[in-house]
Amino acid sequence: MSNTKITNLANGTAASDAAAFGQIGLLQTVYATYATQTSTTSTSYVDSGIAITINVKLNTSNVIIDADVPLYITGTSSGGAPIADLIITNSSNITVQEYLGVAGSNVSLNQPDYFWTVRIRGFVATPSTGSITYKVRVRVNSSSGAGTNTVKTCPSIAGQATAFITAQEIQ
């Protein structure tokens, strides 16, 4: 234990002082669930409804976003290639992390459909303190097969699937 004294500290908070002296790695974790089916045939990103809001304590922090996204993808052709893209954005739709071609198929089935859960994560430096919302958006990959391809999040096909999303503020 050092005998060095800390002097001339400005008024701060327990969290900011502890972070300043390297005593904190993880500042907070928040989580949310979402369980309503969204369906899209669009090749442009749309909101899935899966989102998390974190009230950032320090403007020097980073945030890790981590989501389990249940997906169900279908196609109407015999080409058998519906493909999904996912992206994490902030509330202004600015990209945090994009996952292209994260789920799909490339087999010749008539009207293919598949469902499974995909994990998507992102890392972002926080520009300021205060409330920030991060969301998962979804689209049909433009390289999908012919016909109408549909990507569904939180599908109900075999019981209502639930998405789980967390955000962690770290130093």
Binding site: T36, T38, T40, S42, S44, S48, S156
Partner: protein, 56 residues
Amino acid sequence: MIITQNDRICLALNVLRPGAQYAITGNDVVALQWLDPVQTRPTDDEILAAIAAQQE
């Protein structure tokens, strides 16, 4: 297999406007976001009629 109203709306739109781009969250047709730059959005009544026809 569980078919929700969300699924029925998608199936109806596949018939009414094949290949059209849209998004819908939940089971209410009012929540339909029409994103297709070419094809026009069918009315809510047209969609509900197409769903009824599928169930006959």
